[in-house]
């Protein structure tokens, strides 16, 4: 069983807590001058997304979670599952809707995503930081308005809805930041 000492704790490290894989969000070293040293750790449960805190005696060891982030290409969705391929081995992985969570709304196919595997099973998927998607529906564009003030909702080809500047029209290709869900710019085609 692989373990990590509290001295190795840092943001992003994956641990097994009560049978679930967790990722360290924050790690705080606490020690009264003459007293016992502790590590106060804030963790995210990678299955439920729940955040909780744990306290360990400094120097103690905690079981490591066999969690790996692997780049994979998104192939297609059959409506129930999303299918990805690991490009070097051509091995395919099916991801459940629950594990896809919000990521699904940014993908149309071919994108390279970061798939988190726990014991070889997909746990979550991160979309590329930026995606380029076509506007399928929005109010008519207001020519010449480049103020960027206000804005309006626009529906994209994947079904995602983002706020865009008033000048954006149906059929235009937009660059979107998937981490914030915000419009970045138009893409000249």
């Amino acid at each position: 069983m692989a373990t990590y000492s509290t001295n190795e704790f840092r943001g992003g490290l994956k641990l097994m807590i009560d049978g679930d894989p967790c990722s360290i969000i924050e790690n705080e070293f606490v020690k009264p001058g003459k007293g016992q040293a502790f590590c106060r750790v804030k963790l995210r449960n990678l299955k439920s997304g729940k955040v909780y805190e744990r306290t360990y005696k400094s120097g103690e060891s905690v079981e490591a979670a066999d969690v790996m982030d692997t780049e994979m290409q998104f192939l297609y969705s059959d409506g129930e599952q999303w299918h990805f391929m690991e490009p070097s081995s051509f091995e395919q992985f099916a991801v459940s809707e629950a594990a896809m969570a919000d990521t699904a709304k940014w993908l149309k196919g071919q994108e390279t995503c970061l798939v988190t595997l726990w014991n070889g099973v997909p746990l979550s998927v991160a979309a590329p930081n930026f995606v380029e998607l076509t506007v399928t529906d929005t109010d008519p564009g207001v020519r010449g308005d480049t103020s960027g003030g206000g804005g309006k909702p626009a529906k994209l080809e994947t079904g995602a809805v983002v706020r865009v500047p008033l000048f954006v029209d149906i059929g235009e290709l937009l660059k979107i930041d998937t981490r914030t869900g915000e419009y970045v710019s138009r893409v000249k085609s």
């Binding site: 001295n7 070293f29 007293g35 016992q36």
Partner: protein, 325 residues
């Protein structure tokens, strides 16, 4: 390109540290406290169960080959040898080293301001600490004082000297700070440390700095223990806006008691599976020769600079913290 050659402290904070060092020296000069320097490398080290020393090897004249020398965790032992030799009141600004300690308020190498006042009890020394910290941090208000017991009663509604291990554990459970620890994993003092550092300390000295005094005898370290129905350690700590800043003792002068405390520490360390350092025979001999009645205090100087700079992390006031040393 890596820019980890750069200091993590701003030039402004480097200047602030220099100014605070100069003011501290003026403070002690005006009070006729003598500045001293003692070795950072020593043949002996402390036995405290929760302090880990660095050690290194000396090869050269005057000592056997491969002699182990320890980097001091504080200048306490050497300064007490000076006191026993008749130095009178002394202070020192020096580096201290503690293995395993790195975080927002810890760096394994740090600056300590430590001083001893002959003839002072711990309350008289608290007055002097207060005057210095008021001067350095520009505080006008009088500091508060509270016993260890009163502060536990006020914040947690329990008596730290009588509460059972089970009660302390339940208190941590109820506050949601014990996840990951089992009840038997810590001794009473371990649970008290957790409750103090997680539930009480963050609220201490929020508006007015506060001295906590009369610690459990089990946390006396080298403070004298006042006998009574509940024997109490004549030890104090100063907290400023949730930061533990200074730790002082009405000093233990009894060589026999020093030997008993060393023995207790040694057994605790062995029980924890840690090596126990040899007894500091020169400190033992100094106390045997006679340590004058005195009080001493150690103040974390980097934390003082943090408070003056309103910094959240020690990295903001130390030029090259351990990760860039």
């Amino acid at each position: 390109m890596d820019d980890d050659w750069r200091p993590t402290a701003s030039l402004e904070n480097i200047r602030l540290r220099a100014a605070l060092l100069a003011k501290s020296r003026q403070f002690f000069a005006a009070r006729n406290v003598l500045e001293v320097e003692t070795p950072l490398l020593s043949a002996a080290t402390v036995s405290d169960p929760h302090l880990q020393s660095f050690s290194t090897c000396y090869n050269g004249p005057n000592l056997p080959p491969d002699t182990t020398l320890f980097l001091q965790t504080s200048p306490e032992a050497a300064m007490k040898r000076l006191l026993a030799a008749g130095s009178g009141s002394i202070y020192q600004l020096c580096k201290a080293f503690r293995d395993g300690e790195s975080g927002a308020r810890h760096n394994p190498e740090f600056t300590m301001l430590e001083w001893y006042r002959v003839g002072f009890d711990h309350f008289a020394l608290m007055d002097e600490v207060e005057a210095l910290v008021q001067l350095l941090l520009g505080i006008d208000r009088q500091f508060e004082r509270s016993s260890y017991r009163a502060i536990f009663e006020r914040h947690l509604g329990l008596d730290p000297h009588h509460a059972s291990l089970g009660v302390l554990w339940q208190c941590a459970e109820a506050a949601g700070i014990s996840g990951g620890l089992t009840k038997g994993e810590l001794e009473r003092d371990g649970w008290l440390d957790l409750l103090m550092s997680q539930l009480i300390e963050p609220q201490l000295g929020a508006r007015t700095p506060v001295f906590i005094y009369d610690y459990p005898a089990s946390q006396a370290a080298l403070a004298t223990i006042r006998p009574g129905a509940v024997p109490l350690a004549e030890r104090f700590e100063l907290y400023v806006t949730g930061v533990e800043l200074a730790n002082g003792y009405h000093e233990l002068c009894d060589a026999g008691e020093l030997q008993r405390r060393y023995e207790r520490d040694r057994l605790l360390r062995l029980a924890n599976g840690e090596a126990a350092p040899a007894c500091n025979r020169r400190l033992q001999a100094a106390l045997g020769a006679g340590l004058p009645a005195s009080s001493g205090v150690a103040l974390g100087f980097d934390r003082l600079v943090m408070l003056a700079a309103r910094a959240d992390s020690i990295d903001e006031v130390v030029v090259f913290p351990v990760a860039r040393a």
